[in-house]
């Protein structure tokens, strides 16, 4: 079914334009996207949500709070073959031509996380596997009008609204989604799907709904003086408590949208003459992570690993990538079986 074009505006569609997507046209819109792109969006999985390739538009669930894994998984794949090799050194690289994909319904925190990954993988010796996926990916983001119980993006300025990093940006206005155009590619989608343009006044309604969302946050992570706080509290009693509690299972890092570490392994074929070099997500929380030959381990102690994660996210990303390494998605809190909470660690350090 085609969506009737609004005729009341002469404004040309471009970056910064506004359009409306009526909610009862959402599935049609997704259907139209699917003709052009692989569409990856939020779908229900049991009582939770995951990003998954959309096969049927009606699977899409824009009422989700957060997904188990961030959409990172379609850019920096959990397992990625780097190349095939023969014993004699002959190498065949994997085809890196991917179909254009749309990441649909991505929350602001996850869009911020992708921009951090862009810096980690895109700078100096760009990672060809990440970049191949990334360059083929459009982002249709979704501002948050509802807030998960572990969300704290508002205190890191990574949500609940988004300012950049999207091709299109949706905001739930009740009966329809406001659509903001963020790029040429986004312009093309609005044109091809025939979305009706929306008047500027809709932005007022958008802000009202986002202000309302901002009141719903139950957690926060104050960034004021955070660097000094962390530098001064390398020996705070909280670390001793965390050693007793943390199982060093790595769940927090597996669900983190900004974690970029990986391990590399060679998988050899049965002939023992050829094989594949693969990489897989790794975690600084795991014992073997910093182990070198002869078994020496630079972070054998669990407290060194716990500190590495927290200090990396909140202190070391800044000099490395010019931004905080935490986007406040709260997944590490949800994933922790021992209920370790990064916001609580900072609250304790501040002595609040």
């Amino acid at each position: 079914m085609a969506i009737a074009k609004h005729l009341g505006f002469n404004e040309r569609i471009g970056i910064g334009s506004l359009a409306l997507l009526p909610k009862d046209h959402l599935y049609d819109f997704v259907d139209q996207l699917m003709e052009e792109f692989v569409v990856v969006g939020p779908v229900a999985k049991g009582s939770e949500f995951v990003f998954s390739e959309i096969r049927d538009p009606e699977q899409v669930r824009l009422d989700y709070e957060t997904t188990i894994l961030p959409p990172k998984k379609v850019l920096h794949r959990p397992f990625q073959t780097l190349f095939s090799f023969r014993e004699d050194g002959g190498i065949t690289e994997e085809e890196r031509i991917n179909k254009r994909q749309v990441l649909f319904g991505v929350h602001p925190c996850d869009v911020h996380a992708i921009s951090i990954l862009d810096k980690a993988y895109g700078s100096e010796y760009p990672d060809p596997y990440y970049m191949a996926h990334r360059e083929q990916t459009l982002i249709i983001a979704l501002n948050c009008t509802q807030v998960g119980k572990n969300c704290f993006c508002h205190s890191l300025d990574t949500g609940p609204s988004l300012k950049e990093g999207y091709d299109l940006l949706l905001t739930d206005l009740g009966c329809s989604y406001l659509v903001e155009v963020g790029s040429e590619s986004g312009t093309g989608i609005v044109e091809r799907t025939g979305l009706a343009l929306a008047p500027r006044v809709k932005m007022v309604e958008k802000e009202k709904r986002l202000d309302n969302a901002r009141k719903k946050f139950r957690k926060r992570l104050l960034t004021q003086g955070l660097h000094e706080l962390l530098e001064e509290n390398f020996r705070h009693p909280i670390w001793e408590e965390l050693i007793k509690s943390c199982l060093a299972c790595g769940s927090c890092t597996m669900v983190c949208p900004t974690c970029f570490c990986y391990n590399v392994v060679d998988k050899i074929d049965l002939s023992l003459k050829s094989g594949r070099r693969q990489r897989e997500w790794d975690s600084c929380m795991l014992l073997e992570y910093a182990q070198v030959a002869l078994g020496h381990n630079f972070r054998r102690d669990r407290d060194a690993r716990i500190k590495q994660r927290i200090y990396h996210k909140l202190l070391y990303y800044e000099p490395q990538f010019g931004t905080l390494g935490c986007v406040g998605c709260g997944r590490c809190i949800s994933a922790c079986v021992k209920k370790i909470d990064i916001t609580e660690i900072i609250v304790r350090m501040r002595g609040e």
């Binding site: 780097l82 190349f83 090799f85 023969r86 014993e87 004699d88 050194g89 002959g90 190498i91 690289e93 890196r96 980690a120 993988y121 700078s123 100096e124 010796y125 760009p126 990672d127 060809p128 970049m131 191949a132 530098e231 390398f234 970029f260 570490c261 990986y262 391990n263 590399v264 392994v265 060679d266 050899i268 023992l272 094989g275 070099r277 990489r279 790794d282 600084c284 992570y289 910093a290 182990q291 070198v292 030959a293 002869l294 630079f298 972070r299 060194a304 500190k307 590495q308 200090y311 990396h312 202190l315 070391y316 800044e318 000099p319 490395q320």
Partner: protein, 284 residues
Amino acid sequence: MLNPFRPEPAVIKEIKKETHDTTTYTLTFKDANIQADYFFQPGQFNMITIFGIGEAPISISSDPDNRSSFQHTVRHVGNVTNKLATLQEGAIVGVRGPYGTGWPIDLMQGKNVLIVAGGIGLAPLRPVILHLIKHRAEFGKVEILYGARTPNDMLYTDQYADWSRQDRFRVLFTVDRITGDRQWPHRVGVVTTLFQEMESTPENTLVLTCGPEIMMQFVVKNLLQRGFNQQQIYVSLERRMNCGVRKCGKCQIGPKFVCRDGPVFALAELAALPEETLGGVAIE
């Protein structure tokens, strides 16, 4: 897009046994053009692949002026290096690099150089020693302190005579212990015992050190007590690495990526970090 993870095939031209567990390999890239374009700074490393086993960072140990081949002195202690021990001359390995920072050759110009090495830690310093010999007039006095576990664990033993006879070169040795009834004209004890007979002073001197981190910890502490400062001491660190190009994250110390910001660091760069993150190089 260029693939920085793709190793280039290189041929093992020569194998020379250094000790019971350490070997020096002479390599050239199979592709003559790649070999012709390849050069490195003393202190840099390559990622070495044994196809089917994996990849490991290994420092380059040859003369940087030699553009026809390059060498790695490898201690056989891990999966990749143990497999390397089984290969014969003519075998193919994968190589990519060079990566990382080198020793501060430019800053060393006109200065005295003190080199303190322990065990396999001499390997990444050998390119410096060869450079100092070849460009002798550009540098001041050179003193090399080398410690190993036993006399049989010492690397490059056939080259010490050449090093010692160089103008304004002084080479001192020590071992942790002597095996059997072997004659040993040098010192017994950890490498810092050589500081007692060392002639180097903090004045106009740069220090380069590499070895186990516990050794470097004592070397650094001792040198600081003797009036050397953190700006004139350079250390080379070992860390796990899966990429060599600031991607896999394994080698991080604080905000530093050892593969890119190191492996050679001025001690002053590390001193700003919390001491636990240094994995043993405690700086007091």
